[in-house]
Amino acid sequence: MQYTKPYRFLFLALGIGLVLLFLANLSLGSVNIPFKDVIQTLAGGEAAKNSWEYIILNYRLPKAITAIIVGMGLSLSGLLMQTLFRNPLAGPYVLGLSSGASLGVAFIILGAGILPGFLGSIFISSYGIIIAATLGSFAVLLAVLLVAQRLKDTMAILIVGLMFGSFTGAIVSVLTYFSTAQQLQKFTFWAMGSLGSISWKNIAILAIVCFVGIILAAACIKPLNALLLGERYAKSLGINFSKTRFIIILATSLLAGSITAFAGPIAFIGLAVPHIVKLIFRTSNHLILFWGTLLCGAMIMLLCDTITQLPGSDLTLPINAVTSIIGAPIVIWLLLRKRKGIYS
């Protein structure tokens, strides 16, 4: 599919928007740092105050980079789910992927006490958490997919996703019943979702895993376009459907799983961003949607993170509350507009 030229201006505008939001995110917070000093610090120079440099490099920069990775990864996995399930309301949170990842993390954080000391400490490392979360989301996605093959009704698939969410949530509750207060506190903080307090080392791990997920998704751009016509047409166009579906599931699990492992379950980004991108670009070509989703996902997550800081105040809102306040109305609006073709 061609027609890429008219989109150049849009991509340029989004690119500039991303840079501006990135700088704004670094500049705004409980302490407001002027743009000029932010840029000087990033360029390796010195800011007017030493404390500003410290805040930017050790606190705000890792958080902003995490926000970009989280926004890109969740939005892209949402786009993949929406095309694979032919369902505009699919997304990592709605389909229970985040719950699956939560279950994996809950087993690690809350269940580590059951294992002997040294084994527990291996499992509780960042690798252990990331593997458990990815496996958790992979398992839920496989289960949803299994059900989706029997149910042709797209709304039923969403309800099944919700049920898996409740189910995994219930298992987590049972686990919390048997855990210590300290473990419980750790898990609760994780479950509230947070972009801060992730070390540079963990950001590197997250970035590598998400990069693999993004590359896998890029490899599926052509089959994803064929899937716009449905499974049977896609097959008749020479697409190896089982292979494509496996790669899409793997990419989604890596993205949603690793992000949930480090940043907690973050709602609605994966569902809402692909729709915003489809509204802006008014296309279904996944080559355009791929880049658009990466850009818009990063922008919206940076925006949400900036809002959580409540610029100028010492308060910090939970990230999940902000994404839900923005995302939930979008979902309701989409349901109201649910007519042939328009919403997708």
């Binding site: 061609q2 166009l237 020479g238 042939k340 073709g341």
Partner: protein, 261 residues
């Protein structure tokens, strides 16, 4: 184009399902020959196995006995991409919601020929434009596919199959949901396409009267067996009397259609 150039052939095959090693035979001794440039209809009562036959002829389902030969090679030995370059399909089922324009939808037919990103070469673009022109859709190219009428969408899907540039196109009940006017214009379009492009087109239908008037050949599936011939010869052989098991529905040779007694 040579009229007797056979592209798809099946010689005495059995079709049906294998489920948990239990074979369910739907039809035995099916012999079919599709020639280049011919327009063939597939007729049969509901449940007689038209869909099973089409699935077998498109390589989705293995025959229980015998083999389907496409362009001199067993259809089940093709790779997915090779098969996509030799056989295209048009289905009855609706499309999932999307923002695809008519042009983009037709251009998806070029996927068996494009690179890993699906980028269209100038040749691909000209094939797409050719397909749009043949189906008289050029003016609608930039419309979203959900903005066109049902009849036009059917043409768009046919244009997509044309862009796929295959010697054989198989359509599953393309005239369903259309009124008489659109049924006739769609079938005329398909017939013209076989004449202009030399493609072999096979379609399943319940509209026997139209099939008799517009097809070069008809494949009739009845409980007694499957026969393929020209409409005139089939009428002569009284095969249509056995199409339905109800004796109150009889074929009227003068009307080229059925009468309910």
């Amino acid at each position: 184009m040579e009229k007797d150039n056979i592209i798809v052939s099946a010689n005495g095959i059995s079709i049906g399902y294998t489920n948990k090693k239990v074979k369910t035979v739907i039809a035995n001794d099916v012999t079919i020959n599709l020639k280049a440039g011919s327009f063939t209809a597939l007729i049969g009562a509901n449940g007689i196995g038209k869909s099973t036959l089409l699935r077998t002829l498109t390589g989705i389902q293995l025959p229980l006995k015998g083999e389907v030969i496409l362009n001199g090679k067993n259809i089940n030995n093709y790779t997915a991409k090779e098969l996509a370059q030799n056989l295209s399909i048009v289905l009855t089922e609706g499309l999932p919601p999307s923002n695809l324009t008519v042009y983009e939808l037709v251009a998806l037919g070029r996927q068996p020929y494009t690179n890993w990103l699906g980028t269209l070469s100038p040749e691909d673009d000209s094939k797409v434009n050719e397909a749009l022109a043949l189906t008289q859709l050029t003016a609608l190219a930039d419309k979203k596919h959900y903005e066109v009428s049902d009849g036009q969408l059917q043409s768009v899907l046919i244009a997509r199959a044309l862009a796929q540039d295959t010697p054989v196109i198989i359509l599953d009940e393309p005239t369903t949901h259309l009124d008489l006017l659109h049924k006739v214009s769609l079938l005329r379009l398909l017939k013209q396409l076989t004449e202009k492009t030399g493609k072999s087109i096979l379609y399943s239908t319940h509209d026997l009267d139209l099939a008799l008037q517009l097809s070069d050949e008809i494949i009739v599936m009845t409980p007694e067996g499957t026969v393929q011939n020209t409409p005139e010869k089939l009428i002569e052989s009284n095969v249509f009397d056995t199409l339905f098991t109800d004796s109150s529905i009889v074929f009227d040779k003068n009307k080229n259609g059925f009468t309910v007694l």
